[in-house]
Symmetry: C2
Subunit: 199 residues, 2 copies
């Protein structure tokens, strides 16, 4: 059975989601499938499932910092831990839904994740979200105004609830049909799964 797409549920607050975002476009291209960007609110996922952020365990938090740097070196991508962590990402996520509607979803999703984890910028700040949009040549004031629409707010909530209903409990959550792949460290299994489906 041919596979149409990878659904990529992302929240820029998650460093492993940033790491995955640097690899997924080429992974999807090489597998010949679409990559569908779906913003979701990780805080809501954690609350709904009872999952907890890694740094809740102190030694896991310390390990994670070294681990992130090892992944970044392996991928040859920048990693600059932001001073503001965790950032409030609701505005950044709503802008993801607006840009998606306008056909700029991928460029924006990539840029906002890179701004936070690649450059360490504080994406809690609306001025930073605005700057990221402007740097892409997009109409930042118009997009930020559209994030206030009830339909956009509802769409973010709906994406989050849908991901939880389908079995997500963390980020990144990658779905191929109903098969979940959780985490940057599952990209090899995802690649293998797509190969098997194509065979």
């Amino acid at each position: 059975m041919p596979v149409a797409s990878i659904e990529f549920f992302w929240d820029p607050v998650s460093p492993y989601t940033y790491l995955a975002s640097t690899q997924l476009p080429s992974l999807a291209r090489e597998a010949g499938v679409a990559l569908v960007y779906r913003p979701f609110f990780l805080g809501g996922v954690m609350q709904a499932t009872g999952n907890r952020p890694p740094a809740t365990v102190a030694s896991k938090g310390r390990y994670m910092m070294a681990d992130l740097q090892m992944w970044a070196r392996a991928y040859k991508v920048p990693l600059t831990p932001p001073e503001t962590f965790p950032a409030k990402t609701i505005l950044a996520l709503r802008a993801g839904l607006v840009t998606e509607q306008q056909g700029d979803g991928e460029r924006y999703a990539q840029a906002i994740m890179r701004a936070y984890w690649g450059q360490g910028r504080d994406i809690s700040d609306p001025a930073v979200v605005s700057a990221v949009l402007s740097e892409l040549g997009l109409d930042a004031p118009a997009i930020l105004a559209l994030t206030e629409q009830d339909a956009i707010k509802a769409a973010l909530k709906a994406n989050t609830e849908e991901a939880v209903a389908r079995g997500a409990f963390g980020a990144p959550s990658l779905f191929v049909g109903e098969q979940l792949f959780w985490g940057n460290d599952r990209l090899d299994l995802l690649r293998r799964y797509l190969d098997e489906q194509a065979a």
Copy 2:
């Protein structure tokens, strides 16, 4: 600086530790380093660090079952989820320390992990631990008697406390010097790290 060894802190209760155990001998051999088996009690690590088993989050537990099967297929190793989970592994771990002293540590560690996750046998049961030892041609009654020594009990406690003090919070915990690698899904980063150290 040449690297002497990978210290492999293992508890057979952990399925990802079993998966890693199927890959680590060849990984270490190819990297030209020793693989040192160090039994530790994962329950004690969880209690000391405040970490929780994955299945504490229901959807994570469900995902884990599919995930384990995908890893087993990728590695071409058997995976038979045991009916008794989590097993009590204190006796199996103490036998790990005794066999290590007798020069049979690796064969036993490999066999007890395979018995639990590869074959689904109940390693809580002393008769099963005994059978695994016998299948290796070892003197099971003598080894089980030696597990009652205070020095063996203390050594298991010491391994567990040492791992926690060095930053471990789960299993498998793999140390190269003081650099921790946590999880079956970090074997690629471990391989890369060993290559860099050797260069």
